[in-house]
Subunit: 547 residues, 2 copies
Amino acid sequence: MTEKIYQPGEHYNYPLIIKKILNTPLIYSPDQEIVYRDKLRYTYRDLNVRIQRLANGLETMGVKTGDTVAVFDYDSNRFLEAFFAIPMMGSVLQMVNWRLSAEQIIYTINHAEAKAVIINSDFLPIMENIREKLTTVKTVIVIPEDGSVPETSFTIDAVYDEMLENASPEYNFPDLDENTKATTFYTTGTTGDPKGVHFTHRQLVLHTLSCSIAVGSYETIGRFRSNDVYMPITPMFHVHAWGIPYIATLLGVKQVYPGKYEPEMLLKLIVKENVTFSHCVPTILQMLTASPAVKQFDLSKWKVVIGGAKLSKGLAKAAKDMGFTVYTGYGMSETCPIISLSVPKYNMTDLDEDQYLDVIVKTGLPVPLVEFEVVDPDGTPLPHDGVTAGEVIFRAPWLTNSYFKAPDKTQELWKNGWLHSGDVGHINKEGYLQITDRVKDVIKSGGEWVSSLDLENLMSQHEAVAESAAIGIPDEKWGERPMMIVVVKPEYEGKVTPEDFKKYMKAASEQGKLPKYGVPDRYEFAFEIPKTSVGKLDKKVMRKMYQ
Amino acid sequence: MTEKIYQPGEHYNYPLIIKKILNTPLIYSPDQEIVYRDKLRYTYRDLNVRIQRLANGLETMGVKTGDTVAVFDYDSNRFLEAFFAIPMMGSVLQMVNWRLSAEQIIYTINHAEAKAVIINSDFLPIMENIREKLTTVKTVIVIPEDGSVPETSFTIDAVYDEMLENASPEYNFPDLDENTKATTFYTTGTTGDPKGVHFTHRQLVLHTLSCSIAVGSYETIGRFRSNDVYMPITPMFHVHAWGIPYIATLLGVKQVYPGKYEPEMLLKLIVKENVTFSHCVPTILQMLTASPAVKQFDLSKWKVVIGGAKLSKGLAKAAKDMGFTVYTGYGMSETCPIISLSVPKYNMTDLDEDQYLDVIVKTGLPVPLVEFEVVDPDGTPLPHDGVTAGEVIFRAPWLTNSYFKAPDKTQELWKNGWLHSGDVGHINKEGYLQITDRVKDVIKSGGEWVSSLDLENLMSQHEAVAESAAIGIPDEKWGERPMMIVVVKPEYEGKVTPEDFKKYMKAASEQGKLPKYGVPDRYEFAFEIPKTSVGKLDKKVMRKMYQ
């Protein structure tokens, strides 16, 4: 791409493109560190050179403007390099969810028409099984996790670090149109084929700016600041780790990438590298707080945004008791993802512990430039009374424009100029959104909606409960009745009965925490709760199991 | 404007427009206060209603999409209301510098083709003199500063508060194209006619987002946070008070507007309303720190960005000794205005006082999305060595695209796709910009450049000096020689001689603070330094006086 020649008087039309994000840390904190486990440690200055080498390497391998490059990797410096280099050269970064089935992986790569694949050697076995079914991939670049490429039956075109070493350290990244597609990945619903969402440079830059303000400038708990140390604990393949690596880079903070998620290793990294800001799903936080090792670690400076599933009040209290800060973040694959954060407002200065926990487990307040409403089936906005629930709809500058090559599904997503989330919730008079269910998981008993998330949240506060799920099961009289599937903590096994839980829920109802018709009749014990590949409760499977 | 009808699947193309900024405080802090001196106090909720009333009022008065509305006012809630209502309805806000001469005011209003004028009654005398020369203005709306409209010889079409009272409190602000012109005002150079700069909705929104991050999220001194209390002390007509009212509104902070600038009243407001964040020019800060009243006030929580002219080390030390925080902000009318802020970097943790002061008086580091370089006359970037000076050039998403109806002047502003600032400066290896002069004020002695800002900064540190200016005067041998014009502090009058200053500057030169050829030969005492209407040293006038 040749540089534009300007005529006298002609101004520069500044595009909102990813390469512009990188300018700031290179001036503010060029010597700040990027760390990959205990394996690699380099500076933002080095990151900048490696991004240029990666772009040159990919170009040498035949990757062109507009081509899609699929990346299979753990959370690592390589993934961060790909977050920048691939979009900056005008190509599209596809983040592959390696927890999907081989069939689904084939589907997503072929559907995205990926031309090249960058793959961690740990995932080569998956690749070997599906290589011949990949119809568009021409080039395979391997990242040897342990330094040497393992034996494999198929052709590898390049080895990641060798490719970088051999590539030129200078790449003149073009000034792209800000509406150029930058990233794509596939959402994994419980029904049908995965759907391809995609985001432009403009969308990612605006997400980065607004969310930096939301997590940084609002004077509240858990702020993300330029003297924090960042470590993601939601996979980078999952909605670009919530877009937070871009924010971390803009702020020029020290970044720590943990590779695979092993509780003790994560805890050790947090302490060793002084990690102060992370984000993860409740399951992982549960795993960490339940780990016997956790007591040896001082986590008092750690701030964690919890998303992906509801942060229960029980888990929030456990974190608070252990001395670190948690609060809710909310979004979807379709929304880049951040929509809201749940923190107390500037004037909520005299909350007691219970009120404080009630605030931080809400779905949250919209970040700047996000608008949300709850609507009835006709699309009419419902009152902000904290009770009246409807489907949650969004506007923001960073929502996916469509599902890739799926106009039918896009028609369901975008209606009347609003993105329809498929989530049910209500908004209170303070403006806090509370998601109560997925539209398709809603339990309707005697014509009344029962919130499965409310039920699960209440159960989480019972001392014997490790995890639970609420589903609706058909009922002749009421249409549907709620039932709970419960995983009991090991130390309580055999010591609690379904009747105990029913009593507990009845008591909660009597305290006004649940309508009377919402008290489940049935409580089933289970060893684990079925989950989707990204860790969400798989209610479709559960409904089948217990119907 | 009718609402767009969306087809199924058609997404909402989110525009970056000013009305979107207002959504956030209405959710986060609707009950937070906006204060006008001791005269008025209302909430963001009220602000939102008043903005809608103002738009309806203006529409009733015949203001249409695309029309320009000129505002003459002190810093007030009315001006804040105009910052939002006028652009949000698709009209253009013209901010009038009432310190200009009547001739210049006529020129700027006619040149901008303003259709309506909103004017504080204090400025009616100016208006009476020029009314018949205004060729485009059809409507005049008066703000009676003291409640009642004073006697005047000409027709007033409406009174501001009555117009609002009579207007509907609901206005359906359109989703404008983000490239719609939102604001305009005129720069007042020392030569030629004032030049009209203008900014679009997109430019103002991006300025607001990036600058919010720069002043809020970077962990450094003087941060602007949502629990701060804001009061501008640079006029709202001057580059929209540096765009900071938009940032303050996004953050939902308490805002205090002081009207006219009287030192004791400003100090009282700061203490009474708990003001913690302001911005002003050195002259005003000087006035405040020199005020006998200042000792009665606790300013320890006050953070002040200093711009408009160089923050001298002497003044920075005075502020530090008084216990409040100051640092440099830099920009120009053409740049919306913020380009840089000068604060220590995250790793500058062990600066002694002298080093700290050296950092905060620099011109600064670019805010996110700003790029600057210094170039030689051919446009070639110069090394970042902290010494090699050249013209400073910019790129950012918020630079004026052109001077309104002045293509010749635009050709000088925009060259090779960069905005040419007319400032001379250098960049050091840490990335800090230091402006040393205006291109046209540069002193060239024996072929070497002498920085007039360096000279003024050194003089500011002499105990007897209240203010000073350096200019170049013709010299047969050297081409030009620097000379100083000095205002001596009252208590030193008659106690210092030009020879004392020359000794002082020679000593500074021997300490390596100034090249030998930079020591001025001539020192002239003056009662005041000639300034332009926005308070900048008027060197053109001085060169004429002392030639």
